[in-house]
């Protein structure tokens, strides 16, 4: 899952709370401010769950005031690709 949000105190807490509530397993997580705009951030999470649950969690995450968009894809390989892409931008 790729989450675009405002970079605000406690925003990671808010995202993780939603996942914890649904007992969705977080295998990996990387989060950082956007290089060109520190007021925005991105989180990339590798989650272990069903597509049905991902769809429900996506809508619950998008209800968070700070979250602009939550996108999900199937396949753990994409986690490496997405997290590398965002990390490269920072470096």
């Amino acid at each position: 899952m790729e989450i675009h949000s405002d970079n605000n105190f406690s925003v990671i807490n808010r995202i993780v709370n939603i996942l914890n509530r649904r007992r969705v397993r977080i295998k990996k997580l990387v989060a950082h401010e956007q290089e060109d705009d520190f007021k925005r951030g991105v989180a990339v999470l590798l989650l272990f769950t069903t597509e049905d649950m991902m769809e429900k969690v996506k809508h619950q995450l998008e209800k968070l005031i700070e979250v602009e968009q939550a996108l999900y894809y199937e396949g753990s390989g994409l986690y490496c690709e997405l997290s590398a892409k965002h990390t490269e931008q920072i470096v």
Binding site: S5, D6, N7, N8, F9, S10, N13, R14, N17, R21, F38, K39, R40, E55, K56, H59, Q60, E62, K63, I65, E66, V67, E68
Partner: protein, 588 residues
């Protein structure tokens, strides 16, 4: 935090910018902001960390009416009652530490029941944050799961923006509670006075869905082809102010309407198309026919488990149409065949245009016949018992005496279900109860808040002896401010609903549910509230009339049957069609 506070779109009047600005404190900024948002009542309880705000409040008596409660939970439930009946945003003040954590139950209650609140909590000085200072608690992280949004403000310049954002978030989209935690230094800090600007847009928050005509057309197609269509109306109809549209839709299409617990009053109980209250203790007809309809139209409701019972046995035969403002609720519990992501009012207006005129008199007649079965087996006995007074006959008399037009606030338990079944709500925003959270102790303070919002309206709190004692300290608030709430305690000396389950499902092992109660009449009189106790049937109607006619507050205790049960009931794990009209036969 700055990112969030500065990225709002607000309107600014250029002529204001050039005038010399006087200096005011952050506390005054807060109070000016509240006045600008139309706030005139605050429910609160002071303390050290919010003292600068209270000191400033001293000079705002002409603009802000502060109601001093006896516990912060009383404050937040009062604000909920205020919001529920008026549609306005309730406002709460509390101090740091335990003052703030005492709000948690009410925040959770308001979040699940979509009630707009703005709670302001004091916090320790910013340089003490994270040092385990006196009355310091991490309020933001504590209340993240129970608020729609929250923020901590550590500088006075951020207060106005936070308040503007808070009100916008609380009252738009699916409404809910917001908390602003303000450090003491921010409350004290002096800054230049600025014109208050309301929030009208937040980059990452889109509360108003855009109505999709394709969704409406798909839904209308299903509805127009239905032979046995059925509307389930929830609180979303009330929050949207869509009662008129619901009535128009039902009258045009001829479709019967049932109500969820929080939707009671959205459709008049005396309308010919109204078929009853549905759910675990709902009417027989609405529950049975959920599994007989061919198109189920859910409007502003979320398929709570108290409504659906066992989901695997819920309306499997029907096409489901779901209209709701919250996208996360659509397909969350029940998969839909057509859904409309929209505000209820807007969605209904569109459906009225697209749906054909219809007549389903024969289908409505099936509800009438089923409800007659319920009347013969349950209601008749409830209204005409041979022995002790029943909760049902008290509520039936109350409904008749008030013509179904009072604001009735219930607590949680058997009395809540009985009132929902037998009080014939005619008007929107007259039923106030704790639905999703089922918070005992809700009713007394909520009734206070409702009466503050509607001082000319008859407000009656119906409470059980258990829930009453959870927030009974608010009798002090009622006394201090002469709040003319009528209080009925239906006393069976038990935590009745739990006892009912222990009787039906745990072999009558009444584990810690029997209560020894004080003299409630003397307790009320200690707070200068006129009070009476009724134990005999012949005294009941006179006592109710005396209560309703009393000028100010009045307390009435009615002693009811100790082991009476509430039926019909959909047992836990059962489907709605398995609804019981009487206790299951005991196996030998």
């Amino acid at each position: 935090m700055d990112a969030l506070l500065t990225k709002t779109k607000t309107a600014v009047s250029p002529e204001v910018q050039d005038q010399p600005k006087k200096k005011i404190s952050g506390s005054e900024v807060l109070l000016n902001s509240l006045v600008a948002e139309g706030v005139d009542i605050i429910f609160g309880y002071p303390g050290g960390a919010i003292m600068p705000v209270y000191d400033a409040l001293y000079g705002y008596a002409d603009r802000l009416n502060h109601i001093l409660v006896r516990h912060e939970q009383g404050a937040i439930h009062a604000a909920q009652g205020f919001a529920r009946v008026s549609g306005r945003t309730g406002v709460v003040f509390a101090t740091s530490g335990p003052g703030a954590t005492n709000l948690v139950t009410g925040l959770a209650d308001a979040l699940i029941d979509s009630t707009p609140l703005v709670c302001i909590t004091g916090q320790v000085f910013a340089h003490l944050l994270g040092t385990d200072a006196f009355q310091e608690t991490d309020v933001v992280n504590t209340t993240i799961p129970v608020t729609k949004w929250n923020v901590q403000v550590a500088e006075a310049k951020d207060i106005a923006g936070a308040v503007a954002k808070a009100f916008y978030i609380a009252r738009t989209g699916r409404q809910g509670p917001v908390l602003i935690d303000i450090t003491k230094n921010a409350q004290n800090e002096m800054i230049e006075e600025q014109e208050y600007v309301k929030c009208s847009e937040i980059r990452t928050y889109k509360p108003k869905p855009v109505l999709q005509s394709t969704q409406v057309e798909k839904a209308a197609e299903l509805i127009n082809s239905a032979k046995r269509p059925y509307i389930l109306a929830g609180q979303g109809v009330l929050l949207s102010g869509a009662s008129k549209e619901l009535i128009a839709f039902s009258e045009k299409t001829g479709i019967p309407v049932a109500s969820t617990l929080l939707g009671l009053g959205a459709f008049p109980a005396d309308h010919p198309n109204y078929v009853g209250f549905l759910g675990m203790h709902g009417n027989y007809g609405p529950n049975i026919n959920t599994n007989e309809c061919d198109v189920l139209i859910a409007i502003g409701m979320r398929f709570d488990d108290r409504v659906t019972g066992n989901v695997s046995k819920y309306a499997r035969q029907a096409k489901i149409v779901h209209l709701d403002i919250d996208k996360a609720e659509i397909n969350k519990i029940i998969k839909t065949d057509a859904n409309i992501h929209a505000d209820a009012k807007e969605g209904l207006q569109a459906l009225i245009q697209k749906c054909n005129a219809g007549n389903h008199a024969a289908w409505i007649e099936t509800f009438t016949k089923l409800n007659q079965v319920e009347f013969d087996k349950v209601i008749h006995k409830e209204f005409n018992p041979s022995d002790k007074l029943t909760m049902g006959e008290v509520i039936n008399h109350l409904s008749n005496l008030t013509n179904g037009e009072a604001v009735v606030v219930t607590d949680v338990g058997q009395h809540q279900m009985v009132t929902s079944r037998y009080y014939k709500y005619k008007n929107p925003r007259t039923n106030v109860t704790s639905g999703g959270a089922g918070t005992m102790g809700f009713a007394l303070p909520a009734a206070m808040g409702a009466k503050m919002a509607l001082p000319q309206q008859q407000v009656v709190a119906v409470i059980g002896d258990g829930g009453y004692q959870m927030t009974v300290q608010e009798l002090g608030t009622i006394m201090q401010y002469n709040i003319g709430v009528k209080i009925i305690v239906l006393n069976n000396n038990f935590l009745g609903m739990v006892r009912q389950w222990q009787q039906l499902f745990h072999g009558k092992r009444y584990s810690f549910t029997e209560m020894t109660n004080p003299n409630f009449v003397k307790l009320a009189e200690a707070y200068d509230i006129p009070a009476k106790k009724v134990e005999k049937r012949e005294e009941l109607q006179t006592a109710l009339k005396e209560m309703l006619d009393a000028k100010g507050s009045y307390f009435l205790e009615v002693v009811v049957g100790k082991e009476d049960n509430v039926f019909p009931m959909v047992p836990a794990g059962a489907g709605v069609a398995d609804v019981l009209l009487e206790p299951p036969t005991e196996k030998k």
